[in-house]
């Protein structure tokens, strides 16, 4: 790891990149009654980590390793069937881009921002931001893997008034699994872009489409 503190800044839930308005699919799962408790949250997060989390981590690692971000952006589209989730990923990518250019400015970020003014997929921007911060592919994967579970956990605290201590304990217990996912992602990022993991969670895709059509909701996704 090249800069532990820089990774902490990037992965901090308070990093101002728009994530606070998104639940990572948790709001739909709560409404459907699939997440009612801390143990449900743990299972939801475990599922998300090994599917969307692994895919995002591999894209982030590949961007941090120097693969062409525009090729990775297409790879991310191919791995995101739901139009609602594509829109969310691009919106969050655009917001992360703004924060990254203010914190670790660099020509790679400028070039991607110019090529994708309405936003590239968030994991790609995350990997490039990590690279610009002097971090490596494993760091980027770690940030993406952690985010894939921290975002629903934070949202469920608000949605269910779940005890925040229990929610954080869920994250702590998943930490070894998140590390393992990050290692797999980093290993995959050493190969060709076409062979990056494409693990997907069909239920997350389907409920994201339904959630996007709700008239009343607390979270944007």
């Amino acid at each position: 790891m090249s800069g532990a503190a820089a990774l902490l800044v990037l992965a901090d839930g308070r990093f101002p990149a728009g994530g606070h308005a998104h639940s990572g699919g948790a709001e739909a799962a709560v409404r459907a009654g699939r997440v009612r408790s801390a143990s449900d949250l743990a299972e939801f997060c475990r599922g998300r980590l090994h599917t969307a989390g692994l895919t995002a981590a591999a894209l982030a690692a590949a961007a941090a390793a120097g693969h062409d971000p525009l090729v990775l952006d297409e790879a991310a589209d191919a791995r995101t069937p739901s139009p609602a989730l594509r829109r969310t990923a691009r919106r969050l990518g655009r917001q992360l881009m703004r924060a990254a250019r203010a914190t670790w400015p660099g020509p790679d970020l400028d070039a991607l921002a110019a090529a994708r003014p309405k936003g590239a997929h968030q994991p790609v921007v995350l990997g490039l931001a990590a690279r610009s911060a002097g971090l490596g592919p494993l760091d980027a994967a770690q940030a993406a893997a952690y985010e894939s579970i921290s975002s629903p956990a934070t949202a469920v605290v608000r949605l269910l008034s779940l005890d925040p201590l229990e929610a954080t304990a869920v994250l702590a217990r998943l930490a070894p699994a998140a590390d393992e996912v990050a290692r797999q992602a980093e290993a995959a990022a050493q190969g060709a872009v076409e062979e990056l993991p494409a693990a997907s969670a069909p239920l997350l895709e389907i409920t994201a489409e339904q959630h996007a059509a709700w008239q009343v909701r607390l979270f944007a996704s």
């Binding site: 308005a21 909701r217 607390l218």
Partner: protein
């Protein structure tokens, strides 16, 4: 590692006054305050009072999706392409203060797609007395309270009441019915705010929003004078 330069980088500075094409961006005015104090009604009235004179747009931050934006659309105070709702993940104050990225994006997209604009009104969803706008998002902020929410609010203070560029005490028409002491509210507000202005308003009685609209016009004039259009070239600026 890329470290930030000490020199300003206007192209990405969130509060930059210049748009990528060199024009001056719109003045951004934030309206915050407790739930139900009359922020959306004030925004609607301001739009009606100012839309003939200025190119206007509105950003709302609801707790639930699009309530306020839907009201403004129903009232047809502006064409739909000039109204954007930002979703706030159950925390409107986070979206206007701690992580302003979605709001900045909304403002910039409005400038891009409905611009050029003179004025953008950003309404915060109803929140608590500590909610204020980041200076990275708005240039001036108005805190809207009402007489029916308790006449002790100015005395309680809090960042909204004490630091907003303008404190609006709304719904004065209701004061007799709820037993609010307007003179006492004015005294408490002055104590908390010193020289900062306070405006008592009722949207239900004359002159309605007009005094507030005048204040906003002054802000627009000051904004234009301070940031003379860069494309005015070498035209003499006031000394």
């Amino acid at each position: 590692m890329h470290l930030d330069h000490a020199a300003p980088c206007p192209e990405r500075h969130t509060a930059s006054v210049t748009l990528p094409d060199g024009r001056r961006r719109a003045l951004r005015v934030g309206l915050g305050g407790p739930v139900g104090s009359g922020k959306t009604a004030t925004v609607a009235a301001l739009c009606r009072a100012l839309r003939d004179r200025y190119s206007l747009a509105v950003v709302t931050n609801d707790i639930y999706t699009r309530e306020d934006a839907a009201f403004l659309l129903r009232e047809a105070v502006l064409p739909p392409e000039r109204i954007t709702a930002v979703e706030t993940g159950a925390c409107p104050h986070t979206a206007i203060r701690d992580d302003i990225s979605a709001n900045l994006e909304a403002v910039e997209d409005l400038e891009d797609e409905a611009g050029p604009l003179d004025l953008v009104l950003v309404e915060s969803g109803g929140d608590n007395l500590t909610a204020t706008f980041s200076k990275g998002l708005v240039d001036v902020q108005i805190f809207v309270i009402d007489v029916a929410g308790g006449d002790d609010i100015p005395r309680k203070g809090g960042p909204g009441v004490t630091t907003a560029d303008l404190l609006v005490v709304n719904k004065t028409d209701l004061a007799p019915y709820v037993g609010s002491d307007l003179a006492g509210m004015a005294r408490d507000a002055e104590q908390q705010r010193g020289a900062l202005p306070v405006l008592f308003q009722s949207l239900r009685t004359e002159p309605g929003v007009l005094p507030l609209a005048d204040w906003v016009r002054e802000q627009c004039a000051a904004w234009a004078a301070t940031h003379a259009a860069p494309d005015a070239g070498t035209a003499a600026l006031p000394a």
